[in-house]
């Protein structure tokens, strides 16, 4: 951290969405204007990651006041500098309308505590400059690693992870300690640590914002995983579309090498670890762990049969840990505060917090981190600001495209592994797509089936042919040519796919079809018997055929 004392800090959020709103231009103008006004010495401009606001254009936060300005353009910069930074008068017209429920920071004392409580994964996002390792270090960064290397045996780390009951956030919810312990106990070497940052689940962008906002946290966790399991090589597999994540991660890795946090004899211990970014090339199934291994080896990303599991036979058939970005992001704080501290958050069977991406017909789509067990109602109305269109809530798709559809009877469900299980739903990737009455469930199911049809790797026929057939059924219903018996046939086919597909991509058909038919069967029946789409989306004629052709 710089030693210089500044009177004020202006944070500018640089992530993919603010970049597309012109954040760079605003930043340049801000720095120039501060210079012109001779304020550069007393006011520091800090680049930070996402502030969790998705649709607010360029966002600036001024500290110590904690004032959020949104939709800032180059033209507004002069006014902010002259009025606020020079004369202390807040520029009302650019203020964020609501209290930033999802924002990461507040420096007023009590508020800071409050915000901090629910923030583990995102605690640095939007506070630090992700391109500067010193800022991460200043906020206890790499001190978990220091403690592990100095005072803890691998078994101790596993013990804390077990106490924490941290489960994987990539979809399957598998206990982290179990995987780490299994790889630790494998006699075979070399072993590998892989971070799954392929994030392709529709509606999910949490991993991107973690990578863009706090890349060192992931590096630190992976080095710890390496130490615990006796592995010396790690790979972070980032999807090819995530330019900014890839650049930031590469920069972070090279800084960590400079500080000897990567490489030989880390912290002067006898432990060495190397880390490399691998760039994906566009494939959803590649996020499936064994497909990802195939891709890392330079092949087509077709999932392998399991068992053997990657912990036993992974990358190049050697023992391998694969963890999701968000899962790993929890690790440093569990080390620093202990497993029991982490276990103190959440519900009986779901410890800690969860990061959700909330979207669709919501007033404030974006990213939130809340305690496990928060209700769907709170997420939609408290954090998401309610339905944006003024219409009624109709449905939520929880867990990404591979998730379950729910209706308003499920609004009070607590989002946790166990409560969702009761509804046959899953937490999945943590994407929550909210739909109002204007949505047609047949149309959305069609879009979901087309997505899977397109992304099927094609190696097993239940999935390859199954999704084609399901898409045909849905299109037939959308065109007003459906028969009642189609609904049962769809269920039977999906159930067969669930039982016979090689990986969860094919298996998840059942969750989509069964949940949508459980809650919205009436709407399907209306399309079939009355040949009517209340939402007016299926025109029961050529229009849907046009959509259907777009497979």
């Amino acid at each position: 951290m710089p030693n210089k004392i500044y009177n004020k800090h202006v944070l500018i959020s640089i992530d993919s969405s603010t970049l597309l709103a012109g954040a760079r231009q605003v930043e340049k103008k801000l720095v120039e204007t501060l210079k012109k006004e001779k304020l550069s010495e007393s006011i520091k401009v800090i680049e930070t990651g996402s502030l969790g606001l998705s649709d607010q254009g360029v966002v600036l936060v001024v500290y110590p006041e904690g004032v959020h300005y949104v939709h800032v353009t180059e033209k507004d910069v002069e006014e902010i500098v002259r009025k606020h930074l020079k004369e202390g008068e807040i520029v009302d017209r650019l203020l964020l309308e609501r209290e930033p429920e999802v924002s990461t920071v507040s420096y007023t004392e009590d508020e800071f505590e409050l915000e901090k409580q629910a923030r583990i994964v995102l605690k640095n996002c939007g506070i630090i400059n992700p391109e500067d390792i010193d800022e991460y270090i200043a906020l206890e960064g790499y001190s978990a690693l220091g403690r592990v290397l100095a005072d803890m045996k691998p078994q101790d780390v596993i013990g804390e992870m077990k106490k924490s009951e941290l489960r994987g956030r990539g979809g399957a919810g598998f206990p982290l300690w179990f995987k780490w312990n299994a790889v630790k106990n494998e006699p075979e070497t070399p072993k590998y640590i892989v971070c799954n940052a392929d994030e392709g689940e529709p509606g999910t962008f949490k991993d991107r914002l973690i990578l863009e906002g706090d890349p060192h946290r992931i590096i630190e966790a992976m080095i710890i995983a390496g130490y615990v399991t006796g592995s010396h090589h790690g790979y972070i597999y980032i999807r090819g579309e995530y330019e900014l994540s890839i650049n930031r991660m590469e920069r972070a890795i090279s800084q960590a090498y400079k500080y000897n946090l990567l490489g030989e004899n880390i912290f002067e211990s006898d432990f060495s670890f190397d880390l490399q970014v691998k760039k994906g090339a566009g494939s959803y199934v590649c996020g499936e762990e064994t497909a990802l291994l195939e891709s890392l080896e330079g092949k087509r990303a077709t999932p392998r049969h399991k068992p053997p599991f990657p912990t036993e036979k992974g990358l190049w058939w050697k023992p391998t840990i694969i963890n999701n970005v968000e899962t790993l992001a929890n690790v440093p704080d569990i080390i620093l505060n202990g497993g029991n501290w982490f276990r103190g958050y959440g519900t009986e069977q779901s410890a800690g917090t969860k990061v959700y991406t909330i979207l669709g017909h919501l007033t404030y789509p974006g990213l939130i981190e809340v305690e496990m067990g928060t209700t769907l109602r709170d997420i939609i109305y408290k954090y998401g600001g309610g339905i944006s269109t003024g219409r009624q809530f109709k449905a939520a798709l929880i867990g990404g495209a591979a998730g379950a559809f729910l209706d308003e009877t499920a609004l009070d469900i607590r989002l946790s592994y166990e409560d969702l299980g009761e509804y046959d739903a899953v937490l999945g990737s943590g994407a929550i797509l909210v739909m109002d009455e204007s949505a047609c469930m047949i149309d959305i199911l069609g879009s979901t089936m087309r997505f899977f049809q397109h992304e099927s790797c094609g190696q097993c026929s239940p999935c390859r042919v199954g999704y084609q057939q399901l898409t045909l059924y849905v299109d037939k219903i959308a065109q007003g040519k459906g028969e009642m018996k189609d609904l049962d046939d769809m269920l039977e086919l999906a159930s067969f796919m669930n039982g016979s597909a090689i990986c969860a991509l094919g298996q998840s058909a059942y969750l989509s079809v069964s949940s949508i038919l459980r809650y919205f069967r009436k709407e399907f029946e209306e399309h079939i018997t009355d040949k009517k789409c209340k939402a007016g989306i299926c025109s029961m004629s050529e229009n849907t055929e046009k959509i259907a052709m777009r497979g």
Binding site: L19, F205, A281, S283, E297
Partner: protein, 159 residues
């Protein structure tokens, strides 16, 4: 022809994806030519058909020439819900091409793709490496107009 790129990498199969990215990024028509496939397979000691099968598996690669600007529109459920169909229709109309095609002058290719990971600003699209969100047909027209002038347009998102 591709030696300069190849020599940057160890000749091991796990570098295949990296190499393919780099060949394609350096090709003005954003694809991997047959000559590239041959040289890569020689270098990594793979058969050309193996390399070809990898290229065709991943959606970011192409074996046929594409436009200078690749317009990738997301049609996954969240973008679909927020109106991606009208965005695709608009693009099809103003560019005069269908999904998977390239304009005659070689300027634009249109692709319908899966989630781009910017669903908070759905419906969304990417033109080469630039992202655009909260799209409306009108906005799409403006964006394409700017690209037609062949200058990098100021990127934008809805107010």
């Amino acid at each position: 022809m591709y030696e300069r790129i190849l020599r940057k990498y160890e000749p091991t199969a796990d570098n295949l994806l990296f190499i393919l990215h780099e060949i394609q990024d350096n090709e003005p028509k954003q694809y991997i030519p047959e000559q590239g496939i041959r040289e890569v397979s020689d270098y990594l000691d793979l058969s050309p058909s193996q390399v070809y099968s990898v290229i065709t598996f991943y959606s970011l690669y192409s074996v046929s020439p594409r436009g200078k600007y690749i317009v990738r529109v997301c049609d996954s459920p969240p973008c679909h819900l927020m109106g991606s169909v009208s965005i695709i229709d608009e693009l099809s109309e103003i560019l005069g091409i269908k999904e998977g095609e390239t304009t005659e002058n070689g300027m634009f290719s249109l692709e319908v793709v899966s989630c781009l990971g910017v669903c908070g600003v759905a419906p969304a699209m990417m033109i080469n490496k630039e992202l655009f969100g909260n799209l409306t047909p009108e906005k799409v027209r403006n964006i394409i107009d700017k690209y037609r002038q062949d200058k990098q347009p100021a990127s934008q998102v809805a107010e």
